[in-house]
Amino acid sequence: MSKSEAITLQTFTQGLWKENPVFVMMLGLCPVLAVTNTAMNSLAMGVATTFVLVCSGFLVSLLRHVIPKQVRIASYIIIIATFVTMADYLIQAISLDLYQALGAFIQLIVVNCIILGRAEAYASKNGPLKAVVNGAGMGLGFTFALLCLGVVREVLGSGSLFGLQVMPDAFQPWSIFVLPPGAFFVLAFWLMLFAWIEERKRKGGKAA
């Protein structure tokens, strides 16, 4: 693999659809299920995760020649934990309400397999710029997935979107969608939908 490979659009878009961390690779599901009861929470979680992904990717990539293999996992975890702590404090500074809504799940970004996975599989093998672009793509893909859930859950479960009421007053909210079972059901629904779309695409491709 040549190190000087150009940054292509694909480096970025990879994480959005084809290797979407949630819908395709089924990684980092804990926050996907836990904090998506409102779109705002989803967005904040997505941004925080993207921040950690990009920063840790950059740093890991920068230090990739310095860190010996034996301690690489430990080093990555420390680096990730550092950025997560930073994200944690930043969110506290931005909005305490948001911080309370996300709860421990901000700190749990540390054990989000996407980040360690990216550090191990991508950032440690590619240049800083590529790592950043790829991390951003993955983060966006993750945010997209979170929003997919968050929007559905908030609109159906509370009749609002980003806290603004979007449904008519008479609308009966389906509170199951903001409850834990709803999270599982909505994610399963999205998975089935995407599987179906892929199936259709494949069939279409074959027929053409």
């Binding site: 430990a74 404090y89 506290q92």
Partner: protein
Amino acid sequence: MSDADAMEIPPQPSALRLIATLGGIAVMSGLLVVSTVQLTAPRIAENRRVALERAVFSVLPGAVRRESYRVDETGVVQTEANANLYAGYDESGALIGYALEGAARGYQDVVRLLYGFDPETETVIGMTVLQSTETPGLGDKIIHDEAFHENFRLLDVSRPVEVVKAGEKTEPWQIDGISGATVSSQAVGEAIRRGAEQREAVLTFHRADRADPIDPTDRTEEGGTQ
């Protein structure tokens, strides 16, 4: 994957190098974290203060200034850290009441709330839910339901509070429950009931405070709530 990688490495770097690398990273991360903490600390403190005051003032109508105390078995002490009792004063500096925390097991999880307590009349004068995960649309009415909150505008707590069914409140120490959300309403009542001991301590403190002329703060006698 890591197993295979580990096996491929013939030259073993020295332990010193490993430790040095880890140490270096640790130092770097320490720097990053500390600087972030330093940078955000004032904002966070400010956020906390605003949130706290918002809650305290909402349960003590008319209050604009607060003082923090801690109440426990040993009594009441003035403190900023670990505070769980707040005295609220209006613009003229008159004491409006005390804000106390309460908690009880709700339907899904613990319900934590803050309520305003007027020591002179021994009544609750306001309540806000700090934390709850009650059922949306049903139990979470304890947060916003106007009719329910009406109960806490003036609730006699000199005797144990009772939660009765919606619309059946006849006595000043009774709370009109939310229909269909009995457990959640009960939890709020329970949280307030449990605070009796705390309130006792607060009352003792309040009376002593009143009687004590060497109070440093500029509080005038005529500022009572009679």
